[in-house]
Symmetry: D3
Subunit: 250 residues, 6 copies
């Protein structure tokens, strides 16, 4: 298995499906930077700009809806660029982001276009946010539909790429249990730089740096002794809704 | 991470902790053969011979306890040899196998001796067998104790090797959800040969071949399209009680 | 914390979101009467009259839809008056009550208007009734939306009032575990009087009196010995989907 | 209870609600054949033909949508006839099958028409298929609505027939735990004959024969010793979302 | 299957394993009376008299340990006699009842002696009582051990009789979900008479009558319309840790 | 209820049951300091010194067992003194701490002596530590036994004090979901000072300060807007295994 994986490594493709413009930075910035640093293609689907639900300060400052969307778009594009990824905006309207067939159909099209080897999205549960589960539900449904030869969309039917749920803001309240700890130490500076593109949420820069440190501590605690990890290790946590397929237990 | 793993690959060590003499064949024979075929060391701890609980036919034929233990030992040694592994018998008495401090202490000693990079054992739940959870509980406890510098046993403190629970006989009734699907196609003939060493349980040879086929079907269903899997794929299923530590999402 | 709570006690506001006209009486009548008896404002949102799903006798007697709605409205208003609360009817149509954006938007408006300190609603699971989970889902979603500065509705953004799920008719089948036992002894007579306003469901008067007694027994069983509880204690059970915030463990 | 059951046995009615044309054969063919063999009426609701999601080969062969639907319909009718049941096609469109009020209303009508004593449908969870949970959700909702005297549909209000979830393709990944093991030995040949009507899915004939064998092994393992089971027993597994009502513990 | 069951009905045997002398009356009195009324043999294993943990009034009245045990024994024998069953006392000491191999071995002996077709015991979880889970654990373990041909106890190896967990005092806090609702209407007077043998716990007579009524309401709510249930139905609720084996879905 | 609580506030008693000498500082130091600051009595039961399992550095430095125990005892006493609490050492031996009747009996005695109004202990699950669940199990069992009038220990039978599980080191892996968020802002400096008494674990000082900050963020996120919380709020998280008993929903 690992050999097959290595052969196609040069063309590997990752698809990240998120509800709001900033989500991919805080929650999966390390995984994105890591993939990009290895020459892989990373595409981020932002279903909305987070213009209503995640822009409280801008609203209190009296900005208009269009201004806010423009700012959020610009920030997200800059952060994606820092990480080495491309963003697609769907402008589907947030708070609430409502699951609907047309949007799922658009996502099927994107799946068939980018043919991802790996899919990242929100977990299915988040009692503090109505948009995250809606985005995740659509991401999962579109992935299944894109696999069907009979689904009427351009492009080849999809394989069955593994899915990873990234960490929500309040993990324990969202049924989130770290099932995969990803070592992002070598790209953490890039993730931090991408976070700093999101000027309006400066209070989160340190919050997510602390989280990366804590996940790094857990990572070391769960790793064997011979892995030669740096004393400061940064990590990101993920869940797997589908089983891992592997050629070696490790 | 992967590079560190590769460096030490020549000396990797796997420890399999089981309740009865035959368990390692049916449930983890593929993983064992795979590791051994790559030059890794595999040690199997059989806490009992399964002399009372898993030898119904022999009892009905009127064999004595000592005869049964001798037969089971011989079969297990032969099967282990076919797979490329070494067995240690603890002769702790089965049905019931009772968890006790001395046995846990013996296991701590074994952990420190073989310094496993990977640990395989039973899941913690099995409503059809009282010994399997007892063995698993002791395997997990000993692994934690062996990590403590202050634990009074010979050898160096252990790291934190990943643990995999192999599949019980009635998976759905034991809360077993396949979290890892291991491709054992290349060693399946070896696993079959090891199964055939267990003469008294001939009815299970086909049963576990069917299971390997079914897990193989699931494996293909959960793998991406480019993995070049054989049309007949054999698999084994595992659970992970601890998070996977990795340098790449795949 | 307790001091802050006390300061604003005179103006505390409770919002109860229910599917059908009678629900608030059986399930939360004690909590409503208790809050009202302390001078607090209680607003009940009845999304439907329960005209189709909870009026079997009236249908068998040949009443028309409009007649049934009128009777249910009158009964609910009388029961609310007995408890000291105000009802708002949404007339959204029951059996099935279908979650829809306009209804959620109406609820956001109500949240912003009454600015609740406490929210009561159905639990999210009820295999015997399709309307209860729909009402709960909308109540929770509207509460989250109402908190966003960017949500286009009149009034100030909401804080994060605690939510309590009241007890469904078949608690064990609906995943209901009592997490909060509320002592309603001092207002139980009022609750009984409110129940008796619901003439068509006379068979439930004693049923829910028995339930209050049983929850009272549990309440005493879970309380410390010095609480000076009456020998007949009446209780209501609730779940908390969000963590309790407190200044003291008790 | 058993006496009441026996009295009405001659007129018992079973309703099977499925997403795609082939589902009833693989998953519930034994239960259907068993009921039919006892002179009971069995009605199968096929919400779609599985024309897009479960006809990969036909699409790869270049068939048109209408051709595929016609083939699937013919196969399903033939299989139902072999089993002794009647099929109703709803042609609601698959992949995705979207839950919608009109379809639920149609199902309410069917419930009131056939007045089932037993209902079979998919489980509510299936991460590999978006249509199965949608069908199950509608089957359950319609069953509850059909019980309400006030629901505006022809026919008498329904009682509360027990519901059984049949086994999904990947049981462990769908939260499926066998709660009922049905002995289908006496009709297994009929089930096999019905499977062989589904020519395009020949690779599943043996797969589901193996499954029936494995469920039969489990059935014997969970049955008392005096049941006189055949040495080859075939079984089907089911879950019960509602409690069993009985006059005897057995 | 049903035919096999009927054939052996005259000799059916039920084993009830309980922690304390009174448990079988409150929790399973209906099932016991029902089996006995059909000419079946019912054996109750009381592991302790409940002399310390369930005799608060007697201790407050200054009775000695031996007096209390004698009273509890006499009451239990009288209640069993009313129900039509036989009691075996193990006098293993309560509060805490500690699981130990000798006691499990005694239970294996009893299983082999009475060869039960049905087993009733406590559920495995009860946060209000340490003895109930201990009794249940031993009852389940002994049942598995008694099935092994190699287990050194007199009598024939056991089959695999179904197990039912009866209802604990605080069901929702003990993870108890009614999976089986048993109609005990025809023997309820007998159960009430047996309850009245337990003079020291008079406050529970009405409590458990109310529970039987409530479970009866649930039973009617979950039964089909043609079952001809009495308007006052009494019920007892049970869980099944093992799958039901059946020849008919009903 | 609140009035009864206030009356006896001067004499309220808290009992903290922990496995190792340092646990109470990291996990419950805020709750302890808060109770003590209000004039309440707090007693900490340290079942072991953590001499083997939580003293890795000392062992690597070549200290003897007795030296290590002495150091840990001194540190714990100093930290308890800073917090305003009293420690009782049981010296039961750690890694593994084995549950045993004598130790439970000692705890029953302590319960009856200090008559706690509140009990704090570890959660029942911790896959990284075998001692924590053992301590929690004994703490819960002893609490139940101490309530029985018939249990042979000095002192009056206990009431039913509420229990709180404090947060484990790896909460998500231990099934820990914050159910109670305690505001410890006003005593956080005291908690920090107590942490600094534990010289050997300096790396944890900041780790647990970060955790308190994060729990404070969550606390604000879950609190209503009028609570007047400080912009830097420190929190501790707890679970409740028993329902909250209250006179007001808040």
């Amino acid at each position: 298995m690992s050999s097959a994986v290595e052969e196609s490594a040069g063309t590997r493709s990752t698809l990240v499906v998120t509800a709001h413009a900033g989500d991919f930075v805080w929650r999966a910035g390390g995984a994105i930077a890591l993939a990009a640093s290895r020459g892989q293609q990373v595409t981020i689907a932002c279903l909305t700009f987070g213009e209503r639900g995640e822009s409280a300060r801008a609203w209190r400052e009296g900005r208009s809806l269009e201004e806010i969307k423009a700012v959020r778009r610009a920030e997200a594009e800059e952060a994606a660029s820092v990480l080495g990824a491309t963003v697609r905006f769907f402008d589907a309207g947030d708070y609430p982001l409502v699951a609907r067939p047309e949007l799922v159909d658009d996502l099927v099209g994107l799946y068939r276009e980018v043919q991802p080897d790996v899919v990242l999205t929100h977990p299915l549960e988040d009692p503090y946010n109505v948009d995250h589960p809606a985005a995740a539900r659509m991401a999962l449904d579109a992935r299944v539909l894109a696999q069907a030869a009979g689904y009427p969309a351009a492009g080849e039917p999809l394989g069955a790429p593994p899915v990873f749920f990234f960490e929500p803001h309040q993990p324990e309240m969202s049924g989130f249990r770290p099932e995969v700890l990803l070592d992002i130490t070598e790209v953490f500076d890039t993730k931090r730089a991408a976070m700093e593109c999101l000027a309006a949420q400066q209070h989160l820069w340190d919050y997510y740096t602390d989280l990366a440190t804590r996940r790094g501590v857990q990572l070391r605690r769960n790793a064997g002794p011979n892995l030669g990890l740096a004393s400061t290790t940064y990590g990101e946590a993920y869940m797997r809704p589908y089983p891992q397929v592997t050629g070696e237990l490790a």
